[in-house]
């Protein structure tokens, strides 16, 4: 590659930073010794990167193979002991999980020796092999009670499912129901639950009414694609994936209808009230942030939110303009065709007709490109804007947890003071009873305070893990989709070249 040389310079600095990074290929010593290494790996599997183990993309120097690594100093005394052992399978370099950028080369070159390999293999290969597709939107029913049913197909080699491939029919409210269940279970303990696609009353009404036109088709396609992305994101999450609700959603043919998701139901109103209350609370809670990491991350997400929204708006404008270009090109094509017809010089007339044809093809190209702009780029950004809202929500929950803890602590304090006061009262008969009462209350509150503290620490820990996972996912996601998008742009341009090159001899033929 001629521009190979270009690469070294920018990577240089990264090198120097890496010198002390974790060893990718942990001392086989670890595995040889015992289980501990395998256990650690197992334990970390919940933390692993998502789909198609793309450690290739993982540029975090610290965590290169966090799940597979144990830092063992090369100069450690144990090493000598081990190395003096006979042929150690450990010499074989351990394979990192399969790369996915070149799926065609996907055969697994596994060094099969060490058990450690197997652990890695499990993480790399098996860990994320689930694939969910949402397809075949079908209109069920008629009139205002009609709805779209989507086929959800799951392909997975994972053992926790009964079969390797199965599909069920679901409707939009089922998805919302799933999300609300997951949110109620996991948001408050700090897991970032991917948000479900938004409701759209206008869009659905058109579909229900039965308008079989371009815009309602587009709406259904947009929704189908959004639902698919939603499910994929949900199952990519190592904890959510194992949730029984998720499994039920994917597997069981009968799902209880989720009525609480209707916008105008009582549950819906309740949700709105709660949201408002939350917003007010958020403004009043003043948290003593002891951990700079959280403050920094919150700021980071705030900024990211603003920028992503801006970017999203720009991309939407791009989609709009490209659609406009497509329409204008089509109009021009028609006009050029008419001009060609009215032209009396035969060769020029033919050339003009050819020009009209080329422009017509190009208009189709623009249309397709606009779709790619939208479905790849714009939707990605939209998804992430919503995801970041979820992330911010998780941070808010942490604040609430802290608040709860502080509140119980304050209450405990008050009770203790009351207890102390009781010591000095002069009502001996009531005293014992009151004292006992207060003691009980204090014990209760103490337990509460301790629980509150534990909760707070737990949620902080979870959030840290979640955020780091989220960031990794984000990097990967963006990269994959951006590459796809750029490839779509390349395709368009290459087609354009073909069309114009076909036109050129026609133009030359004018005499």
């Amino acid at each position: 590659m001629s521009d190979r040389a270009r690469d070294p310079p920018p990577e240089r600095t990264d090198f120097e930073e890496l010198e002390d990074a974790d060893d990718l290929f942990p001392e086989p010593a670890a595995t040889e010794e015992s289980g501990p290494a395998s256990l650690t790996a197992e334990d970390i599997s919940t933390n692993s990167n998502g789909p198609k183990q793309d450690s290739q993309f993982d540029e975090d120097p610290e965590d290169l193979f966090a799940e597979a690594t144990e830092e063992v100093s090369l100069d450690s005394p144990e090493r000598d002991v081990l190395l003096s052992d006979g042929p150690s399978p450990a010499i074989t370099p351990i394979t990192p999980p399969t790369s996915v950028i070149t799926p065609c080369l996907g055969h697994d070159d596994m060094f099969t020796h060490s058990s450690f390999d197997e652990i890695e293999e499990e993480e790399g290969g098996d860990l994320f092999d689930m694939h969910i597709a949402v397809s075949d939107p079908e209109k069920v029913g008629d009139g205002m009670n009609a709805y779209m049913a989507y086929k959800v197909t799951t392909k997975t080699p994972m053992s926790m499912f009964k079969r390797g491939e199965f599909s069920v029919k679901r409707r939009f409210s089922d998805f919302l129901g799933l999300h609300s269940k997951l949110a109620s279970k996991y948001l408050h303990i700090g897991y970032i639950v991917p948000p479900a696609p938004e409701k759209s009353i206008v869009g659905m009404t058109k579909v229900k009414v039965g308008k079989e036109d371009q815009s309602s088709n587009e709406f259904v396609e947009k929704r189908r694609s959004a639902l698919e992305r939603y499910l994929m994101r949900t199952v990519k999450h190592p904890v959510l994936r194992k949730d029984p609700d998720v499994m039920q959603f994917l597997e069981s043919s009968d799902l209880p209808r989720a009525v609480n998701t209707q916008a105008l139901s009582s549950a819906g109103l309740l949700r709105m009230v709660n949201k408002a209350a939350d917003a007010v609370n958020k403004m009043t809670i003043k948290m003593n942030e002891s951990d700079a990491w959280f403050e920094e991350k919150q700021q980071h997400f705030e900024n990211l939110d603003v920028q992503l929204r801006k970017l999203h708006a720009s991309v939407e404008s791009l989609v709009c303009h490209r659609k406009e270009l497509s329409v204008n090109t089509a109009q021009f094509a028609k006009s050029a065709a008419m001009l060609g017809n009215s032209e009396d010089h035969t060769a020029l007339s033919r050339a003009l007709s050819q020009l009209a044809e080329v422009e017509e093809k190009i208009d189709q190209l623009h249309q397709d490109q606009a779709n790619a702009d939208f479905y790849l780029f714009s939707e990605l950004l939209g998804d992430y804007v919503r995801l970041i809202t979820a992330v911010k929500g998780v941070f808010d929950h942490r604040m609430k947890t802290w608040q709860k803890w502080q509140d119980s602590q304050m209450l405990l304090q008050k009770k203790r003071e009351a207890e102390a006061k009781l010591q000095f009262t002069n009502k001996p008969d009531k005293l014992q009873q009151a004292k006992d009462e207060i003691k009980e209350e204090i014990e209760e509150l103490d337990a509460k305070v301790q629980q509150g503290e534990r909760d707070f620490e737990q949620i902080s820990k979870t959030i840290r893990k979640e955020v780091s996972r989220f960031e990794k996912e984000r990097v990967k996601d963006f990269k994959t989709i951006i590459i796809k998008y750029l490839e779509s742009l390349v395709q368009t341009q290459q087609q354009m070249i073909k069309y114009w090159e076909a036109f050129l001899p026609e133009a030359r033929a004018i005499s």
Partner: protein
């Protein structure tokens, strides 16, 4: 703002009409123009070998109105009734960029400084493009006159070129003489008269039908082409915003995404330049072409109209002659008048035929040239785009790769050194860089212990693999091995084993593809 246009750019622009300015006896160009508020002042420069001019080379300042005056006088001149008078250049129109500049000023607060600067640059470029176009159009007008055998000898034309004082005095006289309203009346009677008069000549009948139809079509095409160009420009503007926002995000990003975003932002910046050029090339080759010939066809229609009027005059004079004969009064006068009309009509028909045929030829040639050039430019720009995009894709794919692989190589090397019973830690190796390889060599801190890894080098080879070669001095024997890290794989594999005593690599599995 003043601008000097070099020969090269003028050459490129002067594509709507070919074969101009080739006659050395009268060479005209507009080398300079000044823009003050709404008025543009052109410097008309003439080089001539003709004796009818006072000097062989001279320049005069002219305004747009002067050009219009010249055009109008030519149109009104009876003698030129049988010629297609080159269409007058349209008034310089800076409305569109000015409006955009205004909007930009209002929206300044919502953009980053870079974005604002870039948008401003774009607008300034647009402004400049309008400016260049108007100069070109005025220049072509003069050049068509100079290359016309009859029109180039026109007295007013000469005055226009030579008269070194302000023409506005003359202009006022001309206006009074001809009266603007007369022209307008003529124009509105245009279609009616042409369709009303019975045509005697097949050639003209055909031409009439053709031109009427063609005119309406080409007018429509011009409008649509303009819309297309504008949409392209909008897309280029969107790319600016994209690029700027990506830049901001990447600046604040601390993850691996940072590099990706920087590259992406850079890419969009480049793409928008290409897109902008696509838009302007399309404008020049297609839209301008159509616009120019739309006006030219109008001029041809005017010729037809004049001829039709002459025909009507002739027919009227015939009727008058008949009447005179009947009344036996003023016969001679009527006859003379009729003869005069016939002559005029014949002259018009003859020169009209010549002009129209020439016009068709000119048109076909110009279309051919422009369509070819446009197709070539589109191909060029699309290829450019592909190169930019592909380059970025490769970089994105590789940014992860190289980083990752070299890091892995390092770790592998570290492990190798440990396997090879070297007490060296990776710290003892340092990295230097050749043009296409990295060499890990012993660092200065090194004191060579009996068993040591004396150096590893990383080379890239044709097979797009990184190979790590190392020699290992251990157990008193020299061994070397080769570790290849394939480009697209993330797993390094040991390909070659080494010889030598006490060498652990022997046990390694060699993996073939």
């Amino acid at each position: 703002m003043s601008s000097t246009l070099d020969e090269n750019s003028k050459e490129k622009m002067r594509s709507v009409s070919v074969d101009l300015n080739n006659d050395a006896s009268l060479l005209i160009d507009i080398p300079d123009a000044l823009c003050e508020r709404d008025k543009v002042k052109f410097t008309v420069h003439t080089k001539t070998t003709l004796s009818s001019f006072q000097k062989p080379e001279f320049s005069v300042p002219r305004q747009h109105e002067d050009f219009i005056w010249l055009h109008d006088t030519l149109v009104e001149t009876e003698d030129y009734a049988g010629l297609i008078i080159p269409p007058a250049p349209p008034k310089p129109d800076f409305e569109s960029p000015r409006e955009k500049m205004h909007k930009l000023g209002e929206g300044e607060a919502t953009m980053t400084k870079e974005e604002y600067t870039k948008m401003k640059q774009e607008l300034e470029a647009e402004y400049l493009a309008v400016f260049k176009k108007t100069v070109q159009v005025h220049e072509i007008f003069l050049q068509r006159l100079s290359s016309h055998p009859i029109l180039s000898k026109d007295r007013n034309f000469q005055i226009f070129l030579e008269y070194d004082q302000d023409l506005s005095v003359r202009r006022k006289n001309a206006k009074e003489m001809f009266g603007g309203f007369f022209k307008n009346m003529v124009k509105s009677a245009d279609e009616v008269l042409i369709s009303g008069v019975k045509e005697v000549d097949d050639f003209f009948e055909q031409e009439k039908t053709f031109l009427l139809d063609y005119f309406s079509k080409i007018k429509d095409s011009t409008a649509k082409a303009e819309k297309m160009t504008r949409a392209h420009k909008n897309i280029a503007d969107d790319y600016i915003h994209l690029s700027a926002t990506l830049n901001t995000i990447s600046a604040e990003d601390t993850t691996a995404n940072k590099k990706h975003l920087e590259k992406l932002s850079d890419l969009f910046e480049k793409l928008r330049k290409v897109e902008g050029r696509v838009a302007s090339d399309q404008e020049l080759k297609l839209t301008e072409l159509l616009r120019y010939y739309m006006r030219d066809i109008q001029a041809a229609k005017d010729l037809l109209y004049r001829r039709a009027r002459a025909l009507a005059d002739y027919e009227n004079s015939n009727k008058a002659l008949d009447k005179a004969r009947l009344k036996s009064k003023d016969i001679a006068q009527a006859e003379e008048h009729q003869q005069h009309c016939l002559q005029k009509f014949d002259k018009l028909s003859e020169s009209g035929k010549r002009e129209l045929t020439g016009f068709k030829g000119r048109r076909v040639v110009a279309f051919r040239k422009n369509l070819i050039e446009m197709a070539e430019l589109e191909i060029k720009h699309a290829k450019n785009n592909v190169a930019l995009l592909q380059g970025c894709i490769d970089l994105l794919k590789r940014v992860g790769y190289t980083f990752q692989t070299l890091h892995k190589t390092k770790c592998l090397v570290r492990r190798m050194s440990s396997c090879l019973q070297s007490p060296l830690s990776f710290d003892h190796l340092c990295l230097t860089e050749n043009s296409d390889s990295y060499v890990f060599g012993p660092s200065k801190r090194l004191q060579l212990p009996p068993r040591s890894l004396s150096g590893l080098s990383v080379h890239s080879s044709q097979s797009e693999a990184l190979s790590v070669r190392g020699s290992y001095v251990g157990h008193g024997a020299n061994t070397s091995g080769q570790l290849e890290v394939p480009r697209l794989h993330s797993r390094p594999r040991i390909l070659q084993r080494s010889e030598g005593e006490g060498d652990q690599w022997k046990k390694e599995a060699t993996l073939a593809e």
